[in-house]
Amino acid sequence: MAQQATEIESKIRGYILENLLFSDNAADLANDASLLEQGVIDSTGVLEIVMFLEGEFGLSIRASEMLPENFDTVDNMVRFVLRLQGTQ
């Protein structure tokens, strides 16, 4: 069953703040900010996020889905997770 968007969002935010930004200040992460432009993720960072989303939400993510429209912002990730939950 699909989880609520707010719950997904808070899990993703929590993961990025703790593991990529090393911050406990929620204001450091805007949901619509490009993680690439901000230097938060680089090449290996996306793989880490992919593995987190798979583990946390029980998804299977394909290589062809590792695109900015799915991963570059918190908002994009939430939409992506919701879409996969609807189809998988």
């Binding site: 703790e18 593991n19 090393f22 230097g39 993720i41 090449s43 394909r62 290589a63 062809s64």
Partner: protein, 525 residues
């Protein structure tokens, strides 16, 4: 029609004007947009004129602190046409290091991107008139910064007339060293033109090839993809990074990429994606690896992804661009080898006192050829350590400081480094540079940095940290602070909090003892 000689690095681009069919040929694809040779020549000549009008003269250094973008490509050729020296700086570089590089090189012009303004703006006040700043993308709201597109639009189209000769410097490339501060490797037009020719020869490249570049143009491995493509009249598909692999794969298919240059971290990522969903690139005919060793098991699996590719294992250092390559047909016959000297050069294995080493024994790799650097900018002391008198009067041979062994057929095998430089994601990380940056943080009393084996990164950066009394910080908090001070690849992946660091008899931190402490509590993200 008489043929133009290729003496200078940008001669290949100027020559493209002599081939009418080339004017419309794609030179560079960035963000999926095709830019032709005609466009590149026009934009580069205009920017070269603009640089000259802003006082840039032969030999001046122009810093290119930019992402892999079209403006960066144009700038590289414009700077060369203006007779100046390209000074590529990784766009991940933070203020303090950028400040050092600008100061050390005496750069006259900074060409940069708006999205990294927060790093370069604080450095401009002190420099004011001494530094011209041209910025692409979104322009920061600061006086005196010129817009890249406008500069080109308003510049006249004039052929270059800087008077450059092949002995002049073409590039100053900063690289990390065991001394802490990065140092600028000086390369002349002559040596770079030579290196480009040698590389395209053994890689068997031609004008029909389409080269991919996901590595930063600030890294010589990335820069040479552009130089080789232009030299051949081939096409370069330039990506900002390998962050979103699916995007890169789509571009590879759309533009028919035939050459895939990577470093082991990229190949590990490819394999981990291949296990999720099989990848196959039929059109790729050459795949190259350098910067760190590619495991033989990895090579075997990569053949599933690139079934028609010749696989090249190579070895090199910025100080001579590239040292060796293994003929792809010998991949199975010579496991673990990085081959022989690149065409037109030779290598020697010597003892520390300069005596030849017999076959099978370990020696220090020395390199002889026109590709060897002129030295380090402003650092005769360090230059003398790396460049030794050669066979002929005045000649200099590069002492790589790396240990190698050679089999009885002359094939090279990497044994180890004689310094403590860490290779992570194919990038050189200087432990001293990381330690110095971390010591500047409030609350850190002592720090020792070392490399540890890591499947994805080759080596991970580990920092052993002793906090000041009364301070409490987690590994994560320390990493967050590091991210503001250094490039991502330098930020320690592992922080080990210690109460004390072991010392050797002469008082230096005993890194070997630290690494052997098996019971350490690792805080890993």
């Amino acid at each position: 029609m008489s043929q133009r000689a290729t003496r200078l690095l940008h001669d290949a681009l100027l020559a493209s004007a002599d081939f009418p069919e080339r004017a419309h040929k794609p030179a560079v694809v960035t963000e999926g947009i095709v830019h032709t040779y005609g466009e590149l020549l026009d934009s580069a000549q205009r920017l070269a004129s603009a640089l000259a009008d802003r006082g840039v003269v032969r030999g001046d250094r122009v810093a290119l602190y930019m992402d892999n973008t079209w403006p960066c490509v144009v700038s590289i050729y414009a700077v060369l046409m203006a007779g100046a020296v390209i000074l590529p700086v990784n766009p991940q570089t933070k203020s303090a290091k950028l400040d050092f590089i600008l100061e050390d090189s005496g750069a006259r012009v900074l060409i940069t991107d708006g999205h990294i303004a927060h790093e370069f703006l604080p450095l401009l006040d002190r420099r004011q008139a001494a530094l011209t700043v041209i910025c692409s993308g979104e322009l920061p709201d600061t006086q005196g910064i010129e817009c890249f597109d406008e500069v080109i639009r308003n510049a006249p189209l004039r052929p270059p007339c800087a008077g450059t000769i092949p002995l002049d410097l073409a590039a100053l490339i900063y690289t990390s060293g065991s001394t802490g501060q990065p140092k600028g490797v000086m390369q002349t037009h002559q040596s770079m033109v030579f290196a480009v020719g040698s590389l395209v020869e053994y890689l068997r490249l031609g004008s029909d090839d389409c080269l991919l570049c996901v590595l930063p143009l600030s890294f010589d491995y990335g820069l040479y993809q552009l130089l080789m493509a232009t030299h051949l009249g081939a096409t370069l598909v330039l990506e900002r990074s390998f962050t979103f692999p699916a995007k890169v794969f789509a571009r590879m298919r759309e533009f028919g990429v035939t050459v895939f240059p990577g470093v082991p971290t990229i190949f590990s990522m490819l394999l981990s994606m291949h296990r999720r969903e099989p990848l196959r690139f039929e059109q790729v005919t050459r795949m190259t690896n350098t910067a760190a060793a590619l495991a033989d098991a990895t090579t075997v699996q990569l053949r599933e992804i690139f079934p028609h590719a010749l696989i090249y294992k190579m070895y090199g250092l910025t100080e001579c661009k590239r040292v060796s390559y293994l003929e792809p047909e010998l991949l199975d016959a010579k496991p673990g080898s990085v081959g022989k000297a690149i065409p037109g050069t030779e290598v020697l294995l010597l003892t520390t006192d300069g005596q030849p080493v017999p076959a099978g024994e370990t020696g220090i790799l020395h390199v002889r050829g026109p590709h060897v650097m002129l030295g380090y900018w402003n650092r005769p002391d360090l230059s003398a350590r790396m460049l030794r008198p050669g066979r002929l009067p005045g000649e200099r041979v590069l002492c790589t400081q790396d240990y190698f062994r050679m089999d009885d057929e002359g094939y090279l095998y990497f044994v180890g480094r004689s310094d403590d430089i860490i290779k992570s994601r194919g990038e050189k990380v200087s432990p001293v540079e990381v330690e110095n940056a971390m010591l500047a943080l409030d609350g850190i009393r002592e720090v020792a940095v070392a490399g540890v084996p890591d499947e994805l990164l080759g080596q991970a950066v580990r920092a052993y940290v002793v906090l000041q009394p009364g301070y409490a910080m987690s590994g994560g908090q320390i990493r967050a602070k590091c991210m503001a001070l250094m490039e991502n690849f330098m930020v320690p992946q592992q922080i080990v909090l210690c109460t004390d660091l072991p010392r050797t008899a002469n008082g230096k931190v005993d890194k070997r003892a630290l690494l052997e402490t098996a019971t350490v509590e690792l805080e890993r993200s």
